[in-house]
Structure formats: C-alpha cells, structure tokens
C-alpha cells in the first residue's frame, strides 16, 4: 500500500488465479483482514489468517498498537487446535488434569472454570508445568481434559457443534468420553492504531474488526465482543469510507512506487536462490512464538525469541521459491505471508520485552503484577528499516476505572 502526502494513494495486488500484478488506485481503503493468529503453531485460527493486513499497514507507515496482547483460548482441541467453544464451560463443563481431577479451585476459587480466558489458560499451563498434564495419545503434546459427561443429556441441544467436532476430528463421543484440550492462540487484541470512528492518522484509510485496534478489548478480549467489533464498527467503517470517497478525487498514481514493488517481487523475491524453504522458516517461527512468546513469557525466553526471529529474517533473504507458475502459485503467496509474519513477530516480541509487567493476556513470569504506574499505556510500533520503533500513548479511561481482577 502506498501513502502519499498523508493520504491513501494505491494498493498493489497479485491475482492468485492468473498471477497478474494489478494496481488499485482509490480514494479510500478499509482494512478488514483479520488478526495474526497463525504466527503461532497451536492456534484456533484458519490457515489464511497470517496478519497480512496489519503488516501491509505497518510497512506503509501506519503504526500498530498493542501487538504484544495475544489472546490464548483455554480449550483448543488437541492436536488440531480447533476451537471448543467457551459455551462448553459456560454451560457447566469441567476441566480435569491428567489425574482426572478438577483443578480450577486452586486458581479461581469463585469462578472456577468460568474465570476469564487468560486466567483459565494460565491455570492449565501451570497444571502441565507441575507435571499434572495428560500425555501419550498425541505425540509430545501435554494437555488437560474437558469433561462434559455429566451434561450428556443437554449436549446435543446446547452444544451440537462440540459433539460433532469431537466425533469427526478425534473420534471421541463427548457424551461418554473426555475431550483433550490445550490453550490455543485465539485473538489479536492489537492491530492498526485506529479509533471508534474507524479512522487512522492517515486520511482515506479506515480499519475495522480484528485488523483494527480501537482498544475496545484492552489487553484481554471478552467472549463474543469481536462480534460487535465486526458488525458495529464494520458498518461505521463502510459508511465512513463511502462518505470520504464521495467527497474526494482519486489521487495521482506514483508510478515509481508501483515499479519498485513489482521489482521487489519479480526481481528480488522470486529470484532469490539460497535454498531456504519458506514453509520451514514458517514452522520454526511458529514454534518459536509458541515456546517463547506464548502464555508464559520472561526476559530470557523473549530475548531468545527475538534472536531467533532475526535469524529467520536472514534465512528469509535466502529463500528459493521452487514454483515458477503464474497460475495459483501458493508458494509465492506463502513467501509473501512469511515476510509479513516475520515483521509482526518482531513487533510482538519487542513490545513484550519492553512491557515489564503482566496485564490481561500478556503475562511475564518475571513481572507477574500489573504496573499501572508505568504501563497503563498503549504500545505503538512504527516501521523503520532497522525494526520497529516503540513509543507509548496514554490510555483514555472513561467510565470504568481499572481495578484488581479477582475470580
């Protein structure tokens, strides 16, 4: 995407079906490309959600906000990561550890399994760390169980999707058997720095949905609040962009921008020949994020993660794209995505290193408490050639004062 004189100018695209390089000139653009959850290996997200929208905006100069806040949903089905809805616990499901005992009493004595997502996800990880995870059936992965057996008579009516998924993908009958679950990457609280009018610092550029960061979720989204973000703010963005477009002309195309991007893809990316496989870099990146920038974070792990990301970036310079076809070249698509993912991984990790506190979904083992004095502020990441420049912005508090969270 190109911005000229503080205003949206044009967008370059590749038609996957034909390989055609096409430029869209326009008056306004709405970013609504979702989050960045596939930066992680164990994820509830569809494969296509690789954070492209965030990265495209970032590279064009739009700051990203609060990217270190990645939500982990407590119950991703093992081993696929398919989401087992919160409704399973809301309707009365239990979580059992490897000893088949309920454990939420120790972590959230009042709310138990109904505590918020970050609390339950950490509780599961603490059980696993304490050696009380279940293991065996799914490779090296440790997990806990979701128990719905005591509500077998209402399952088909209230949670038909869950019984279907358990049966189809794991061959498990949720009426009589336990479902293996593990916390999975589920939502990107951060995104394009935008506001409730869906506008950004650049005119003609709007953002909505998970791609945007209006901060309605703060550091920890509550279940179903993404729906209002999509429906309400999606509507606002569409109406606002249309209104903007009616009132403005199409800016002149800067052809040299377009030529440079075409060269970057055809003369650089497609001609790199160092033998590195993009899928392997992606796999290493995802495992690195799971391990070092996941539910539990600390200075050691985060610094290792950042070092690893830099080495993946070096390997990315040496990729070889084997597929030379124009038609449906998925490997080129993957290569472009991995480039985006590396930038975003860096932003998330740097933001997490600098936020030496725990808040919502961002949990530092070495700084387990929330520190409102120093960190009640938004992280802002701005693109530079040498990596993200981090600054901070005050949090606007209106009706609800921050309080201690107890469950």
């Amino acid at each position: 995407m190109f911005i000229e004189n503080g205003r949206f100018n044009s967008l370059t695209t590749i038609n996957l079906r034909t390989g055609d390089f096409t430029v869209f000139q326009g008056k306004a653009i709405v970013f609504a490309a979702g989050g960045a959850g596939r930066l992680y290996q164990f994820s509830t997200y569809a494969h296509s959600v690789s954070g492209d929208g965030d990265a495209i905006a970032y590279r064009a100069g739009i700051p990203l906000k609060d990217m270190e806040f990645i939500q982990f949903h407590p119950t991703g089905l093992v081993p696929s990561g398919i989401l087992i809805t919160e409704g399973a616990r809301a309707d009365g499901g239990y979580l059992l550890n490897g000893e088949k005992k309920r454990f939420m009493q120790a972590y959230a004595p009042n709310k138990l399994e109904k505590a918020s997502r970050d609390v339950v996800s950490r509780a599961i990880m603490w059980e696993i760390e304490a050696g009380r995870g279940a293991k065996g059936e799914y490779g090296d992965m440790e997990y806990v169980y979701l128990d719905l057996r005591h509500m077998a008579d209402v399952l088909d009516e209230r949670l038909p999707m869950i019984t279907e998924i358990a049966k189809k993908f794991n061959g498990i009958d949720a009426h009589t058997e336990l479902i293996p679950v593990h916390p999975a990457t589920h939502y990107t609280m951060g995104g394009i720095d935008s506001n409730v009018k869906t506008t950004t610092d650049y005119s003609g550029i709007f953002a909505a949905g998970e791609n945007a960061c209006v901060s309605i979720h703060g550091a920890n989204r509550l279940g179903s609040n993404s729906t209002n973000e999509c429906l309400a703010l999606g509507n606002v963005a569409g109406v606002s962009a249309a209104k903007y477009a009616m009132e403005h002309d199409i800016p002149d195309l800067v052809v040299s921008n377009v030529d440079a991007e075409e060269k970057r893809i055809w003369d650089d990316l497609l001609k790199r020949n160092g033998g590195e496989n993009v899928a392997k870099i992606r796999e290493d990146l995802r495992n690195n994020m799971d391990k070092n920038v996941g539910i539990f974070r600390d200075a050691n792990g985060l610094n290792t993660a950042l070092k690893n990301i830099k080495s993946y970036k070096e390997r990315y310079e040496k990729i070889s794209i084997q597929d030379k076809s124009s038609t449906f070249n998925m490997e080129l698509e993957w290569a472009l995505e991995v480039g985006f993912m590396l930038d975003l991984a860096e932003i998330i990790t740097v933001g997490a290193i600098m936020r030496t506190e725990s808040r919502g979904a961002h949990y530092r083992k070495d700084y387990p408490n929330r520190d409102d004095e120093n960190f009640l502020k938004h992280t802002i990441a701005t693109y530079t050639k040498d990596g993200p420049k981090i600054t901070y912005k005050p949090v606007v508090i209106t009706k609800w004062q921050p309080t201690v969270r107890t469950y």
């Binding site: 696929s80 993908f169 496989n277 084997q322 076809s325 449906f328 490997e331």
Partner: protein
Amino acid sequence: MADEYEFEIKRKDESGKVYYSTYKVPKDKISTVLEGLLYIKENLDQSLSFRYSCRMEICGSCGMEIDGKPRMACSTIVEDLKKDHIKIEPLKHYKVIRDLVVDIDPFFDKYREVKPYIIRDDDGKYDKELPQTPEQFHEYANFAMCIKCGLCMAACPIEGSDPNYLGPAPLAAAWRYIADNRDQGAKYRVEVVDGEEGTSRCHFAGECTEVCPKGVDPSFAIQKLRRTALKIEIASIFGGR
C-alpha cells in the same frame, strides 16, 4: 500395514498438461487428508496447488475427490479410508484451474440466482424485531448449515450431463429462505427454481444428500420446492398471491 500412505494426486499444470504424482506421507505425521497435502507441499513438492483455509469444515474451500468420492480434505481422516494408497483428484463437474484447484465461479453464479437472502415486502424497513419460535427456526435450520463447499454439485449426476442445471446447493439455499418465516421472497424465487433448469431436472438420485459433510438434505429441499411452486401457481390462477 506400512508406515506410510501413498497419495496419488491428479495434476494439471498451467500449460494444461495432465499427469499423476505419487508421494509417500508418514502415517505418524498426519491425521487428515489436508494435513497430508500440507505435508507434501511443505516437505516434498512445493509446486502442488490446492485450496484450504479453516481446516475445520466451516470455510468450504478444500473439497476434492478423495478415494472416488467428493469429500472435504480437512475432515477426511485418512485412517478411516482403510487403505494405504489414496487417490485424490479435483472435484468433478468443475473446470480445473491447476492441480486440485477448480473454478467455483459458475457454482456461485448459480447460487446468486436463487436470491439467497431474506426478502421483505417492507424492504427491510420494519421497526420491531421479527420473532421466531424454535419450531420456526427448525423449519430451515438444517439447510442453513450449508458451507457452500460445492461437493453436492460434483456428486449430482444431472450436473454432469447438464451444466446449466441449478443444482442441489442453490436449490437447498432457495428453500432455506422460503422456509424462513421472516422471508417473503418465495414469489420471486419460484420463477428461477421452477424454471427449465430448476427442480424439474432433479431425478432424486439423492447423491447430494449422501455426500454433504454438514448433513444438509438438498433432495428433501427440492421436493418441498416443487410443492411450494405448485401452490403458488395454483394460487395465481385463482387471482391470489
């Protein structure tokens, strides 16, 4: 039993050349056909093309002919096929773009023809909620499960001989809206549904219902549509709407 599956995949490159490639996929690395395809693409052959996204039978992207039947790659557990040699081909009745990727535009064009959305005489300008009882919801709930994967179009024998036939998924979608108590668009849909390329072409082979991964029953919807069309026609003869 061997430690590996053999995936024999029908290919078509951009010059139009058609051939088969066979790959060995370790059994302990994958569970579903989609995971097998991703394993091949990531480790063995970067040129293999296929569509996929959600891997949980929601997005409807990864339909293909697996072991001689239209199935979703993401929800087909290889072990359940009970064989080590798995043949995979693009969906029948669609034009192949490349390898396992088919052109779904004609399918979506047909889908649009049945006006798959709620149509109101008041043009949506109502000021109260439109209530719906659980019974009314269940009138159409089964048909709302369609993920537009298009497997039924590949299974339907009429689609094979008459590409203009609307086909099971679009007809099921027509019924999904007609059966919805909030909808008043039956009179507009009937023209399309009851036309030359509509329900009358269906022979009730039932293949559509058989292959639907979401348990939708298009052949039942088609029977319901025929009755509704008849009722509307009779009513119009006697001057009603």
